[in-house]
């Protein structure tokens, strides 16, 4: 890079304002020629975005020619025309750009329309609701994510998410006259996370959100202009007394006051970055700094003010300028008489380029602070907007870095800044028209810049930048393809497909479906179908295939994707589009889809599901539904019975219902051979319920219905109704074993020891006596009972063991002695010990047996 001539210091053009400097930098001479900016309603997008304008019907203008309909025109920041379209709808009350750089136009009826920067109307238009429509919209503020509208009866409506517009009314009530002005604090800056609106009326300002309207009780006279700083922390207001006052955004702290000596409010008031405020009257621009310092500029034409995070853009008929506070690093280097290390390094480099030996001297003077000096030069280069000066600053930095120790200054940073400057310079070129400063680009982030470039159809540049940043090119390519298709309406499908595929193949993550969807949206279904063949992601294919009317393939793709949600999408669309019969036959071959459809229908359209199941012979599914219904009825009956006698009749009816449903279920189950067990079981349940109803009627005791069969038996036994128990037993052919178990357990748990003994005596127990003994012992039966039951054991040894286990030691010993079980006696002896009388007795018994054995 050769140096052509010396780079001049910019300091001569700076204006001092207190201890800071401000500069006005001309970004572009506007390339438009036929624009009368002062007659226009102008909307400039933040971050150096596009400019939209339309004739302002609030201004009196001589209309020339026959065109009475206004024309909306869109330009780049450099004034290159992007679009123009006739506005043949209602009166425009608001116009602005969203964060996505979509143009929003608000009609006085509350209708909001969206346009791309290329003038295409976008989907997603919405209305602010009937109330707003009735009252009419007076004014509207559009901010990045949403908009706030003021209606005819001075109510505020907010839409805080343009993706899902849901008008919400704010809590502003009882305003008698139109507010003087309004400003919005964006949700990302508020404590509540919801949008807040400042409404100036009377002599005060009210802070309004969805829940409350808080009057700030100011007394500065009517506030004519109000603006919120781009960081949402401060607000500036111009009062009726001609003062500019700055508060923190919650009015919590008064920060500064400046008397402008002008009675009439400025035409425009805007923040310049976050630390000063610009005010514009007819031909004067006044900039007021944070400490009451000010700079006055005389202008020869009217300007629009556009706040940026590090300055304010001044847009006029002929020029586009940036007014900003000179970044510190630049001020350090170029301030007249600066002795900052950065300035000295810059000088040294200049001397070096002039082959002046003093360069070395200069360098030596700052050797201690060299890393700092390098950093300042790099920062200054990054902040500088003029390319020659960027180069000079970079050269100074590189020169200084060469004399730093290796790790004193990161080399990567120099490389990164160079890369960033190349990108920013390319963006600023008038042909592109994105005059971003480094600070703005960092706040916006470069990936967003790439997507904005893409939207602006600067695909080539976007690709270059994304590859420089190591980002995937997919999104840019897809957007390019869509734009290509839109622009090539007369190219045949196959040819266009080949063009697109040639450029996009080799990038597997490219979503052909998006391109195909676009083709379909603009009416090229054939092309859409062709392109869809190249989509590798099944999930992406589904919506489009549905749109193309290829339901069956869509369902297949949805199933392939494994995503049940997509299957549902396909199913719902098919349910609407196809006759039921056809849908069902499609489902028949796809059990996965059928299962999902059935699951959904079971919840929403049980009748339909039943119809389908009957038609396809899935009787067991219908039967299961009947069982579920029976269960529901039974639960209802249970609830009513539990609630008391008042609803007893209802309970009876519900119970009878349940039984009827069970009979139906049983019949259905019997339709198929494989489900005969289910059939029998449901029939058995119905029988059980009938029997229980009978039992309740007979005994006058409502304690049977709903019990299981085993519990019914237990209930009979614990009520002592053995006749009923016998009836249950015979009616349900309960085996002896089982009956014995249940009855024994029921008697034990009822602690009916007499009954238990009697039952043990009744006849030979099919389950033996062991369960009797074990259960009785566990339930704490009296020893006498235990002893008598154990006594019925036929085997003496066994008997002795059980007696010992039951703690009946003496009896155990006697029994053991009777059967001459020496081991048992030894065991007992261990348990008892020999000291007690019982111990002595056992010892004797033992001795006696042993004697007998010998």
């Amino acid at each position: 890079m050769g140096m052509t001539g010396r780079v001049t210091s910019p300091a001569g053009e700076w204006e001092a304002c207190g201890d800071r400097f401000y500069e006005r930098h001309e970004l572009y001479t506007m390339s438009w020629s036929d624009v009368r900016l002062d007659q226009m309603r102008v909307a400039c997008a933040r971050y150096a975005g596009p400019i939209a304008m339309v004739r302002d019907d609030r201004k009196l203008v001589v209309i020339q020619g026959a065109a009475t309909k206004p024309i909306v025109r869109v330009f780049t920041a450099a004034g290159q025309a992007l679009a123009a379209f006739m506005w043949d709808r209602g009166r425009i009350v608001g116009m602005g750009w969203s964060n996505q750089e979509d143009l929003l136009i608000v009609e006085d009826t509350g209708q909001v329309y969206l346009y791309s920067m290329h003038g295409q109307q976008l989907a997603g238009q919405f209305s602010l609701g009937s109330e707003a429509a009735k009252e009419g919209v007076l004014d509207c503020i559009i901010y990045g994510d949403g908009l706030v509208a003021l209606t005819g009866e001075f109510h505020l409506w907010v839409v805080s998410n343009l993706e899902e517009p849901r008008p919400q009314k704010l809590a502003l009530e009882g305003l008698a006259e139109r507010p003087h002005c309004m400003a919005v604090i964006e949700p990302r800056h508020t404590l509540s996370g919801c949008v807040e609106v400042l409404v100036a009326h009377g002599s005060t300002v009210t802070l309004v959100d969805a829940d409350a309207a808080n009057d700030q009780e100011l007394s500065h006279g009517p506030i004519r202009r109000i603006a919120v700083a781009p960081n949402g922390q401060f607000l500036a207001a111009f009062t009726g007394e001609g003062k500019l006052i700055v508060w923190t955004a919650d009015f919590g702290k008064f920060l500064s006051e400046f008397a402008t000596q002008s009675d009439s409010p400025p035409e425009r008031l805007a923040w310049c970055g976050t630390d000063s405020v610009a005010l514009f009257w007819e031909d004067i621009l006044l900039m007021v700094g944070p400490y009451g310092d000010w700079v006055k500029y005389s202008l020869d034409e009217s300007v629009e003010l556009v706040t940026e995070i590090d300055g304010v853009r001044l847009l006029s008929q002929n020029r586009h300028e940036l007014l900003r506070r000179v970044p510190d690093a630049l001020a350090d280097v170029f301030r007249i008489g600066s002795t900052a290390p950065g300035a000295l390094l810059y000088d040294a480099r200049e001397l070096f380029d002039q082959q002046n030996a003093k360069a070395d001297e200069g360098l030596r003077g700052i050797v201690q602070t060299l890393p700092e000096a390098v950093a300042t030069c790099v920062d200054a280069a990054q902040a500088e907007l003029e390319e020659p000066r960027q180069v000079a600053l970079m050269k100074a930095a590189v020169y200084g870095r060469a004399f730093c120790s290796a790790d004193a200054f990161p080399r990567d940073r120099i490389v990164a800044v160079c890369r960033q400057l190349r990108i920013l310079n390319a963006l600023r070129a008038p042909g592109v028209g994105l005059p971003l400063t480094a600070a703005q680009a960092e706040a916006l982030t470069l990936p967003v810049v790439v997507s904005r470039l893409t939207n602006a159809r600067k695909h080539w540049l976007a690709l270059q930048i994304s590859s420089l940043l190591g980002m995937g090119p997919e999104k840019v390519l897809v957007h390019w393809a869509c734009a290509k298709i839109s622009a090539a309406s007369d190219v045949p499908d196959e040819q266009l497909r080949d063009t697109v595929v040639a450029r996009l193949s080799g990038h597997p993550a490219v979503r052909f479906a998006t391109v195909a969807a676009h083709a379909q949206a603009i009416g090229r279904r054939g092309l859409a179908a062709l392109l869809l063949e190249y989509e590798s992601c099944a999930a992406e294919q589904v919506p489009l295939l549905l749109g193309l009317g290829r339901e069956e393939r869509a369902l297949g793709a949805a199933l392939d994707s494994g995503d049940a949600d997509l299957v549902y999408l396909a199913l719902f669309r098919m349910q609407r589009a196809l006759p039921l019969q056809q849908l069902l036959s499609m489902l028949a071959a796809r059990p996965q889809a059928r299962a999902l459809f059935a699951a959904y229908c079971a919840h929403t359209e049980p009748e339909l599901l039943e119809q389908v199941n009957m038609a396809t012979g899935a009787y067991e599914a219908v039967a299961a539904t009947r069982v579920h219904e029976a269960l529901e009825a039974a639960a209802g009956a249970g609830r009513m019975r539990a609630a008391g006698s008042a609803s007893a009749r209802g309970g009876e009816l519900a119970a009878a219902d349940a039984v009827r449903l069970l009979d139906k279920a049983s019949d259905l189950y019997f339709q198929t051979k494989e489900h005969s067990f289910q059939g029998k079981s449901t029939a058995e349940l119905a029988r059980l319920r009938r029997l229980q109803t009978d039992l309740e009627a007979e005994t006058g005791n409502a304690c049977f219905l709903g019990l299981s069969l085993a519990d019914t038996l237990r209930q009979c036994i614990s009520l002592g109704n053995h006749r009923a128990a016998g009836r249950v037993r015979t009616e349900f052919k309960i085996s002896d074993r089982r009956f014995w178990w249940i009855k024994m357990m029921a008697l034990v748990s009822a602690k009916d020891w007499e009954g238990l003994e009697a039952f043990a005596r009744e006849k030979k127990s099919p389950i033996g006596l062991d369960p009797f003994i074990a259960s009785a012992l566990q339930a704490g039966a009296p020893q006498a009972v235990l002893s008598r039951i154990i006594g019925r054991l036929p085997d003496g040894k066994h008997k002795a063991e059980e007696l010992a286990a039951a703690g009946l030691l003496q009896e155990a010993a006697e029994c053991a002695a009777r059967v001459r079980d020496g081991d048992m006696l030894t065991k007992l002896q261990d348990m008892i010990g020999t000291v007690s009388p019982l111990g002595g007795a056992v010892s004797q018994l033992k001795d006696r047996i042993q004697a007998g054995v010998r």
């Binding site: 249970g638 219905l705 709903g706 519990d711």
Partner: protein
């Protein structure tokens, strides 16, 4: 999880005051709030309940002006939104999503908390849970790096594998994690259907038994404390003692606790406090600090002991082990009948019935209907629907042909005699001599690069098996290759492999314990991370087969 979280309080509202309500279709009534937030799983029935609640609340005067927000886990679905549309409440709701996937229950245990996944997969053929599982695994891989080796067994594992490779293909080059670059070396996907026997058995580790007897819910257990009040104990490795005890056989826990208590006591007795140096005192004091924790675990172990000392528990475990041994169907059926007559817990009986069916490839003609009939007569005919579903899931079926249990038992050495509870040498200690098949599979799988199980044996298990290497092709695009044996890298000691074992359909604590155990064995030496759809016991698993309306109907039908 289904809870409505309205922001309400009896008095005036303050910021940050929340109260949790459980989801129902009943009107909300006068809560005195403006905003109601629902956090629900994206299920049709939840959307329906929300719609009904909103409609009912609208009818109330008190309900006017409430704003509703519904956050779906893990994502919004078309089906739920359609319900809102059909019910006419779509316009009243702000819908969002709460993309929670894996919930870490410990350093090495992640769960998706999808309780009904197994039932949906096995009985209903509904594979929607696998999509969410694959998404979650992909998320894990994009955070911690792509696993180089991927293997799996079973139909669900195969389906997840397909999803994963598709998702990898579809990621744009920015988001793509490169294989083998990160924290996960190997991923093993296991379908629960490969081994349903294990959850049907009673776990015999400390943690397993706590779960079986007291039920660990969301990483904690509620017990009655000494004072009679309910006490919640959080169980994870933050409790150092629990970390050491939990994977032990329960038989070894008592002695361990005693030893610890004794150590403190003897320390206290042996040296007089006056003679201690300050450092000794400090050490002693810190030991004392552990005392309440020892007491807590003694209390917990006692609660477990109370349950397992009951004769019924012992006969249950006995029956299980004889079924695993392959005893005759007659004896098994008799044991089951006896438990039913003894009014043993329904889930326990059902687990044994399933175990019988699973080990004998179905229950023989003689007992299939008889046992089921007796089951229904004992616990209520309402459970018929559950039996049908278990049949659909292949867990409780009529015997057909000869089963593979004996062959599997032999091939995988599932039954091990003479396990040492105190210092085990084989993972089989977790079921007192029965090693889970899943654990044997993993054990075989991590030793080499491939599965290392003979193909004819692998075929005996349901579903396909696979083993691939996830890699990048020459263009840097994701691809899969057959596994190649790699040369051991030079002299450097091989780093301890991190193996993610994914149980699709649930995992028991005993299996987790067994995996931790084999991970420490020198011949395996792996750090296992276990991911699952849900931490289960056989009982909680079977519980998902029971319909809500059965529970409702049974509520009024208990013997008083």
């Amino acid at each position: 999880m289904s809870a409505a979280l309205p922001n309400f309080n009896d008095g005036p509202l303050a910021v940050g005051q929340l109260r949790l309500l459980h989801l129902s279709a009943d009107p909300l009534g006068d809560l005195g709030v403006r905003n109601v937030v629902y956090l629900v799983r994206a299920r049709v029935e939840n959307a329906q309940q929300i719609s009904e609640q909103i409609k009912a609340t609208h009818k109330d005067k008190a309900g006017a002006g409430i704003e509703y927000a519904v956050y779906f886990l893990p994502r919004r679905t078309i089906a739920c939104e359609r319900i809102f549309q059909e019910q006419g409440v779509y316009g009243d709701i702000v819908a969002g999503e709460l993309p929670i996937s894996f919930i870490p229950f410990d350093n090495d245990v992640l769960s998706l908390e999808m309780g009904s996944a197994f039932r949906e997969l096995a009985a209903e053929g509904d594979r929607s849970s696998l999509y969410d599982a694959a998404k979650a695994l992909m998320g894990l891989q994009s955070m911690f790096g792509c696993a180089r080796i991927l293997k799996g067994k079973g139909a669900a594992a195969h389906a997840v594998h397909l999803q994963l490779s598709r998702m990898r293909q579809e990621l744009s080059s920015d988001e793509l994690p490169s294989p083998g670059s990160g924290g996960i070396d190997e991923m093993i996907l296991l379908d629960r259907e490969v081994d349903v026997v294990t959850p049907m058995c009673t776990q015999l580790t400390y943690e397993g038994l706590i779960d079986e007897t007291l039920q660990i819910k969301n990483g904690s257990v509620t017990t009655d404390s000494a004072s009679g009040s309910k006490q919640r104990i959080t169980l994870n490795s933050a409790d150092k003692m629990y970390a050491e005890l939990r994977d032990l056989s329960f038989a070894a826990v008592g002695p361990q606790l005693r030893q610890r208590a004794m150590a403190i006591q003897s320390d206290y007795k042996t040296s007089k406090a006056a003679e201690r140096s300050l450092t000794e005192l400090k050490e002693f004091a810190s030991q004392l600090k552990a005392l309440p924790n020892i007491q807590r675990h003694i209390g917990l172990a006692e609660s477990v002991n109370k349950v397992i000392n009951a004769p019924a528990f012992r006969s249950r475990v006995g029956a299980e082990q004889s079924m695993l041994d392959g005893q005759s169907a007659d004896a098994a059926a008799e044991a089951i009948e006896e438990l039913m007559c003894n009014e043993e817990d329904m889930h326990a009986v059902l687990r044994l019935m399933c175990l019988l069916s699973l080990t004998q490839s179905g229950i023989g003609r003689k007992y299939f209907d008889a046992l089921r009939k007796e089951f229904l007569q004992s616990y209520g005919h309402e459970h018929l629907l559950m039996l049908s579903k278990l049949q659909d899931a292949g867990m409780l079926v009529r015997q057909e042909g000869k089963g593979h249990w004996a062959a599997l038992k032999r091939a995988f050495r599932l039954l091990v005699d003479d396990v040492d509870d105190q210092s085990p040498t084989d993972a089989a200690y977790v079921f007192s001599g029965h090693c889970p098949l899943t654990v044997r599979l993993v054990e075989a799988g991590v030793k080499g690069m491939g599965w290392g199980v003979p193909e004819d044996i692998m075929k005996l298990l349901p579903g396909p098996a696979f083993e691939v290497e996830q890699s990048l092709d020459d263009k840097g695009q994701p691809c899969e290759k057959p596994i190649s044996e790699r040369k051991k890298a030079g002299a450097a000691a091989p780093k301890r492999k991190v193996v993610l074992v994914v149980f699709l359909g649930g995992v028991t604590f005993a299996e987790v314990a067994a995996l931790r155990f084999i991970g420490r064995r020198p011949e395996v030496n792996c750090a296992f991370v276990i991911a699952t759809t849900k931490l289960i016991t056989g009982s909680t698993m079977l519980d998902t087969f029971m319909d809500e309306d059965v529970k409702a109907a049974r509520e009024f039908a208990t013997l008083k």
